[in-house]
Every structure is written in C-alpha cells, then in structure tokens.
C-alpha cells in the first residue's frame, strides 16, 4: 500500500489545510522512489509560508521547483510564472502544482485551462478537520464545490491531514482518519493517503488505516525553531 | 390665510453664531421642522461637519456627533450600519463635502447608505475665512483666488448633485435653495422627502441647498440673495436631479 503518482497532480484545499506542507512532502516522497518530480508554487493569494521558502531544500533533493522570478519572490503581487503553462503542456514524471487556499487560491487554475486541455489531471483536496470551515463533512463538501467552481476542474481524491501541529496526538490522527473516511464515503472520492508527522509515527498503529500514510516532515518552520 | 408660527421642538433655544442674513439658520429650522413632523426626534442622530456649521450640535435638541473634515458620511455609515433604526443625517458644507470629503460622500452614496445628507453650498469656505471652494464660480474672488477663479488653472465648479446622480445606485438627489419663501417651501418638502426615504429604508438621500455667505462674499444680505439668484442659480439649477424611481 503505497502512494504512486504521475502526470499532473494539483493540491488544493481551504486556507491552512496544510496544502503546501503536503505538496512538498509528496514531492520529496515521490522523488525518493526515483521519479522525475517538478513542483510549481501557484499560491498567489497568501504571501507567507509558501513553497518558495523551501526552494533550496527541494532543489538539493533533485526536485525541480518552479517559482516566479527571484526578484518578485517577496512581492505582494499575483505573478504567475510563464514556466507553469510550459510544464503543464509537456509533463514528464510527476508534475505537482501547489495551489493557493480556498476558491480564491484555486481561481488561478481556471486561467490555465488552455494548458490543461486534453490532459489527465488528478486534483486532491487536503482536509484538516481541526480547521475552521472544515470541521464538518458539509463544510468540506462546500469547499469542494467552491474550489471546483473557481478552478473549473474536478477534485478526484482526498488527502487527510488532521493535525494541531505540535499538539497533535495519536487520538487526533485516528479521529481525523475516521473523518476523512466518512468524507470519502459521502463524496464518493477516493482517499489517496493520510499525512502523519514523522515524530508521531511510532505512536500510531498504521494497520488501522486502509490507505497509505504519508510521513510528514515539517519543512515550513518558524524562525525560533 | 393667517397661521401660527413657532420654533420647532427639535431646534434648541440657543442663539446661533451665524452672521446676519446667513441662510444656515433657515436650513437648520427646516430640518428641525421635518424631524418634528415625522416624530423621530428621539431616534435621530445628526452629524456636524467642519465648516461654519461645526457647532450645529448646539442648535438642535437631539443626539449629535461632530465629525472631522469631510468624514461625516463615513461616520453616518458607521451608525446606520450598526443601528439601522436610528435616523441619521449629515450636515455638510461645500469644502467639507465636495473637497476634502469627496471620497466619503461618493462611496456612501454609491453603497446606497440609508442616511440623509444636507449639503449647504455657498460657493466659498466660510469658516476658514472665505477661501476658494470646489463650488466657487468662475471669476469669483475669494481670499485664495484674489483675481477671480481661473478655470484654466483650477477647473470648473463642481456640481455635486449631478456628479452623485451619475452613480448607478438608486438615490434621491435634489438641489434647492432658501433665498425666498417659495424656495423655502420647496426646500422643506425636499428635506421631508429625503428623510421619508430614509425612514422607509429606501435609499441614500441628499439635499443640496444653494445658500448665501454675505460676509465672505462682501455683500449685504439682500445683495447676497440677488447674487445667488443671478449668478449661482443659472449654474446650480434647482430641482430633483435623481429619484429612486428613475
């Protein structure tokens, strides 16, 4: 039971669901299996905690990171790199796209519709039931509708990311798994995997899950850590 | 037909600081009469501007706020949004509303805020000593246009009623004056209509009142009325410019 992705994979979700952390870790994980991996930061709405902050760490691992030009990296501007449409038109290996939060962040995807045409695309909704607006199944489904409406693309699967950062316990992981299972049943969307922080792994009985576990190493850290 | 006449209840006993012949006093009285007639004194909040009417809160007998220059429409928005049951009006002059507060009045009108603005246009900054206003007439001399307003340099006088009427949001925008009894009767009707729209929760309403400033114009009160009639009214034409129905 392992995660095996290829082609174009888009990561979406509500604000703070952990999309970027999940996307980065997916990139690292898939790279470790020997695939060619590229990741594009399409978060045009949130100026903090973006993929661009871990560019060097990813590049060292042989992952191709597509970002706006260097001089605009800290700008408060919605700059979409022209490289993005190129990488979508000619995908090879795994092409990961880290979209911004909510429908607002997913809107940019609609502008790339020409590039997405005739391509098979997988789009995963990251869900953390400990976040506002996604505490209920209805909340998650509402966000799914909003994102699909804004991006003009269909969500094809779910990634569970139940956590309270440093205060996450095994209980939270089990509860979160139960929640995304229910969401999967209700929505008919398959569960790709659930994310579990690396330091919690030995406290978790992964046999309780019928989906793969993505081991999450926190890369977007705070300055005092 | 003989009739009685007395000070409205909504007007206080205080003597105003306005100069002899200044029509602010007439406009104050009309607002007070309308508030009395609508029976809303106990739930009215007025907002005084920066300008000659800065002390307006002394002349009425209901709650009042005093605003910073031009910001009265933002304050009125604040009140009306949290207490829609209150009857709110701003009382603003031409410098206050058409210059420093242009942004506030346009956006309040465009949002369709349900308050009423009484806009007193006397084509000059009264309070600060007769300087040029956005509504000063071409060639009109003021203390900052000593050679007369040069429209090539500072543009034409702003017609606020028409400018606000260009907004697509429904509203009641009218221009009146109070220089003669017949005008006063119409002005009062317009003010009452404006407050009635507010009471009905219908729309933003603004009554521009073309007014006089004998002292800063350098005229007797009667000459000021004549000058208003001959010079201001042909440019600032009277009547409803916009009604919520059209």
């Amino acid at each position: 039971m392992d995660i095996d992705l290829e082609g174009i994979v888009i990561i979406v979700g509500n604000y703070g669901s952990g999309k970027t952390e999940v996307a980065i870790n997916l990139a690292v994980h898939q790279r470790q299996t020997g695939k060619d991996v590229r990741i594009a930061d399409l978060d045009l709405v949130n100026p903090y905690f973006r993929t661009r902050e871990v560019k060097d760490a990813l590049t060292e691992r042989g992952i191709d990171v597509v970002l706006p030009p260097e001089k605009y990296l800290q700008a408060d501007l919605p700059i979409l790199s022209p490289l993005v449409s190129g990488m979508i038109r000619r995908p090879s290996g795994l092409t990961l796209i880290d979209a911004g939060g909510d429908d607002a962040g997913a809107t940019v995807l609609a502008s790339l519709a020409d590039s997405f045409k005739d391509k098979t695309i997988q789009m995963f909704q990251v869900v953390n039931p400990f976040r506002p607006f996604t505490e209920t199944i209805e909340g998650c489904l509402k966000i799914r509708d909003e994102i699909e409406g804004a991006s003009k693309l269909r969500i094809t699967g779910i990634i569970g990311n139940a956590n309270l950062i440093d205060e996450t316990t095994a209980g939270h992981i089990y509860d979160g798994y139960g929640f995304v299972r229910k969401l999967s049943n209700k929505s008919g969307l398959p569960l790709l995997c659930i994310a579990v922080a690396v330091n919690l792994l030995d406290k978790i009985d992964t046999k309780r899950f019928s989906c793969p576990v993505l081991c999450l190493e926190r890369m977007l850290t705070l300055p005092w850590m | 037909m003989p009739k009685t006449f007395k000070k409205p209840e909504a007007l206080s006993d205080q003597k105003t600081h306005y100069c002899p012949g200044c029509t602010h006093g007439v406009i104050h009285r009309l607002v007070a009469e309308v508030i009395d007639e609508l029976g809303v004194r106990g739930r009215t909040v007025g907002i005084a501007p920066v300008g000659c009417a800065v002390l307006a809160y002394n002349y009425f007998t209901f709650d009042f706020l005093e605003a910073a220059h031009g910001r009265a429409p933002a304050m009125a928005t604040g009140i009306k949004r949290v207490r829609p049951d209150l009857i709110v009006f701003t009382y603003q002059g031409d410098g206050d509303l058409a210059s420093i507060g242009m942004g506030e009045i346009i956006h309040a009108a465009n949002r369709g805020e349900k308050f009423t603005t009484i806009f007193v246009n006397n084509a000059v900054y009264g309070m600060t000593g007769g300087q040029m206003a956005p509504t000063t007439m071409p060639h009109q001399r003021t203390t900052t246009s000593p050679f007369g307003r040069d429209v090539a340099d500072v543009g034409m006088p702003v017609k606020m009623a028409e400018l606000l009427s260009a907004l697509q949001t429904p509203g009641y925008i009218t221009r009146q004056t109070v220089i003669k009894p017949k005008h006063i009767v119409r002005a009062k009707k317009a003010i009452k209509q404006a407050f009635t729209y507010q009471l009905e929760g219908k729309c933003f309403s603004l009554v521009e009142v073309v007014s006089t400033c004998p002292v800063n114009w350098g005229m007797t009160p009667l000459d000021a009325i004549k000058w208003t009639e001959e010079t201001l009214l042909p440019y600032y034409q009277l009547g409803d410019v916009k009604t919520p129905e059209n």
Binding site: - | P2, T4, F5, K6, K15, P20, C22, V26, P181, P221
Partner: protein, 77 residues
C-alpha cells in the same frame, strides 16, 4: 380668534430679509441697538400685518413667532 406676532429683539440680527419679503411693508429696522449689537427689526405698521408668516419663514434666526390669541369676542362670534 386672533393672532399675535412677536419679534424676539434679542435673537434678531437685523439682516432685513424679513423686511424684503413682507408683502404689507409692515417691518422696519429699529434705531435702537439690541444686546447682540444689532439693530433689530420692529413692526412699524402692526395694523397692516395679515399674519401671512412669510417673515417668520424667511428669518434665519427664528426671531419672529405668531401665536393664536383666544379672546372673548372671537368666542362669541
């Protein structure tokens, strides 16, 4: 029923707007200064007043009022 017009001398600023609108030419400016320093208006020809109230309407200082006087003669009539 009759009407009584009164001018509050202390409120009047002597602007003369009422004089100009009075159709009966009842009003004139006084020669005496009021406490505010103005020469207030007074009814020079009170008998000509028909209580049309145009002066009241024009006065920016609410200095003129007209009240109803209930007297015996009008009650009998």
């Amino acid at each position: 029923m009759s009407y009584h017009m009164s001018i509050d001398v202390e409120r009047c600023k002597g602007c003369g707007l009422c004089i100009a609108v009075c159709p009966q030419h009842v009003l004139e400016l006084s020669e005496e200064v009021n406490p505010l320093g103005y020469f207030p208006v007074f009814q020079a020809r009170p008998d000509d007043c028909n209580h049309c109230a145009l002066c009241c309407m024009m006065c920016p200082d609410v200095a003129i009022t007209i009240t109803e006087v209930v007297d015996d003669t009008s009650a009998q009539a």
